[in-house]
Amino acid sequence: MSLRTFILGLSATFGVAWLAIIVVPYLKMRDLAALPFPEEKATSAGIFIPKRSGRVTDGAKVYAENGCYLCHTQVVRPTYAGNDLYRPDWGGLKNDPDRGDTRRETNAYDFNGETFAQIGLMRMGPDLSNLGRRLEYLLAAGVNSEQWLYSHLYNPRANTELWNSTCPPHPFLFVNREVKGNPSDDALPIDAGPGRELVPDSDAKALISYLLSLKKDHPVPATLNFAPAKKNDEN
């Protein structure tokens, strides 16, 4: 076997796979066409573009830099691949006050505005695909999801319900500074010393607005809706 035959052999065996699962799917998925919404759904006529509010790009960067993806996933698998959809608040809400059961699997449009989908490595913590909506729904009246997330980020175990959380604390995303005038709105409810307060820095703010943008509360067009047809629409 000459070197040329050998290299040709390698190129053929590797190249076929390379073209079939990397290059062609990459090119095909590069510009996904916007999906039209059916006219009769008057809620949002036109095309389907899930909204991402806040500093999504900056926040996604902070998420990546601090390794959140190591323990948190962002994918709700269809039922043939896992049981994520059965959990009441992962892929939407089981009992959304406005729209009933909104749970759905992750679709390719959920990552709009990001460069790398943080599918995740391990689930040491819960899936975050629907974090924003879940917090809005679960938190008692009067608790702001932003405040809850700041406290969680500062020290997850401070919350008595999460006393054995394995999420690492991130005190370095907060600044301990002197109070000048009125205390800041986003100061943590923690004693930071006399005349001082603990406030999130710009990274923490970007991260929280990214996390709160992770929501599955948007109706999807029929072409992306794989939920079985419901017999009654009461739920």
Binding site: G67, F116, P169
Partner: protein, 499 residues
Amino acid sequence: MSSITSTTHDQDALLRAGIDRSLRHPVMFFLTSGAAWLAVSILLGVISAAKVHSPGFLSSCPLLTYGRVYPAHINALVYGWGMQAAFAVIIWLMARLSRKECTMAGTILTAGHVWNLGVTLGVAGILLGHGTGMPWMEFPSFAWPVLLVSYFAILIGSFIQFRVRKEGHVYISQWYLLAAMIWFPWIFITANTLLHCLPGHPVMAAGINAWFRSGMIFLFFTPVALGTAYYLAPKVTGRPVYSYSLAKLGFWSLAIIAPWAGMQKLVGAPIPYFMPYLGAAATSLLFVPACAAAVNTIRTMTSCPETLAASPALRFTVAGITGLIVLAIAAVLLNLPGSSLPLTQFSLSGYGFEILALYGFFSLVMFGATYFIVPRITCREWLSRRLIKIHFLFSVYGIIAVSLVALFGGLLQGGGQEDWQQPWAGAAAFAEPYAVAITFAWCLILFSNIFFFIHLALMWLRLGRRSSHPTLLVRAHGSSPHGEEGDIDNAGPGHATAH
């Protein structure tokens, strides 16, 4: 007749000694700095494993938060230790097998320093909070072109040696090493350009990343380790390779199957459905090339049981190949769609699988190669049989603990995750005892590798034993550390009259 044979024999020995001398510093540089990176990586691994069960540990320091230490641990292991050990072995084996002295030692050493600079800056970048968030590619984006250029500078010489060698038989090790030398840049350039320079769809980017990790394991580390095992087994035992056709089967089935593997980590994510399932099928099918190579090398080594018992090189190699068999079985058992795949997709099993591949298989074979190569290029024998034994026992027990605990703990953890009727906190708590066990096992491995590094550094300083009697794992040379024969400095293994 006999005088002609003895002249050829002498010329052969002189050629080998020349090759070894020409590569002394490049090979020792890669092995020693690789071993140092290995120790750093394992230290980071201990810290990150401890944080999984005690999140408050060292948490006030941003440099040491779990989310930065863990990627630093994996990247130091892959690029600091794994790639450098592979460089050392590739340049030495390719020179020996092509029977050409290395004429580019200066270039290789310079490029080796650049590589280390790239890895250092990359690891520092991750710890300082500039990681990219793409597993195994977390180095800030300036690092990959540096690594790529130094890669070419390090290995171009080996490629040229192969081209200009006297025509003849191409040995199995050369197939594997040449293939690894071609596959690595292909997957590395593909993944890095598509993810850093030409961003496409974010989910496809995650798919390419999963494919890249699998490719690094099965298209670079695996062929390098197998090429090494195919060299060491017949060389040390003095017996021919058990079966050449089995070797061919093993090589070409790896070349055909491995490029399709990897995307099973994205089952259920919105990419074309065939890709993750094809990945799962390919990963399971890797059982075939893994077993072909494992059976072949083990049959070769066991053909000479007394050498197998005495030689440190073979003992590590046989342990590494056993790791490959476990890896191949795990590849089948962990990737069955519909039963085990949903459990292992997001659990500790993934970590267990990667560590088993990188340490339990690849690194153990590299240690075997180190114990074989270093005495030849330094003309000194290993100082202490006991240090080698400590390295072996702690590494093997440690890696068995890390990988089995992670593989099977991960299955239980996955079971907890899939049990959607129970609250999530229960699933999260499943992993905790396994994390404690992993921390302890990494400590064992760290202990063994600190001694390995010291032993290696002493050898580079040429403080090894000056004896022509190799350091074996059985008591063949009396109780004196210099051997009772006392023939100090008469003929090192590189000397013309040595055997």
